[in-house]
Symmetry: C2
Subunit: 158 residues, 2 copies
């Protein structure tokens, strides 16, 4: 948390207690960001990539830091692609509820009946339908999922 | 269109006939991408930034081209921010229906009753409610909107 954000921030709090999180939730710690396994593992490999510094728009980062954060996003996305061979990757930086910069990386499955739509319609449905929510959470394979992403991480030039 | 995409592509077709589009629709032509004014101008300044080359994932671009495309996205996003002072920018690269790489840049208004949610819920509603759709389209100011974005474009180092 910095002077930019005197109020409590959900992701600043989360980053401050990474050691308390289950090992399989912390997928990768990059220099500028931290990848956490997301809560909707129907999209197996879904990660949230949180900027380590509290800012709320890409324009608040200098050129070098912005590109470094983007490159980390691309490394993570490529690992998810390599591990799970999605029909399409969806990359989203929203922050309407928690403005601290974070990318949602959703690998979209080819057997998803809603594959032509953004995930948010299905996630909204999950708010009012417990069976639907349970299906989209699908966390039972978290340890294996995280291991498969980690094994697929490749840095350019390595 | 390249060997990667033998089938017709909506955005390749669009890029091939930019001269036929209304001037206010073509917001900016960058070296690696073209910014078009999006159809949902309730989010005043909403643009779609289409990669000039037909690829479908960021991982299909080399490092230099990927970062150049990202930087163009950031230049455009900053211009939209400067022009319309949104509560939050939303950046989304999905491609579930049209896989050719394109960023959606949605400036989110502080008076949007759905400001805490992704735009897609409201856009889905527009599909079945004509008055809602008309509200979200709001194209009457397109010429002014495009002019304001163009005036706000600043390249780093200039």
């Amino acid at each position: 948390m910095t002077d930019n954000q005197p109020e409590p921030c959900y992701f600043c709090d989360k980053l401050a207690r990474l050691d308390d999180l289950p090992d399989e939730e912390v997928v990768w710690i990059f220099p500028h960001s931290v990848a956490l396994l997301g809560p909707w593992q129907y999209y197996q490999g879904y990660c949230i990539l949180i900027a380590r510094r509290h800012v709320t728009e890409l324009s608040q980062l200098g050129h070098a830091e912005r590109h470094a954060y983007f490159e980390e996003m691309c490394v993570l996305a490529r690992a998810i692609e390599a591990a799970f061979k999605p029909r399409k990757m969806n990359y989203e930086l929203l922050g309407n509820q928690v403005p601290h910069l974070h990318w949602h990386l959703f690998p979209r499955r080819s057997d998803d009946p809603d594959m032509l739509k953004p995930v948010w319609l299905s996630l909204e449905h999950a708010e009012r339908d417990e069976a639907w929510r349970h299906r989209l959470q699908g966390r039972s394979q978290a340890t294996e999922t995280t291991a498969r992403i980690r094994e697929a991480v490749v840095f350019p030039g390595t």
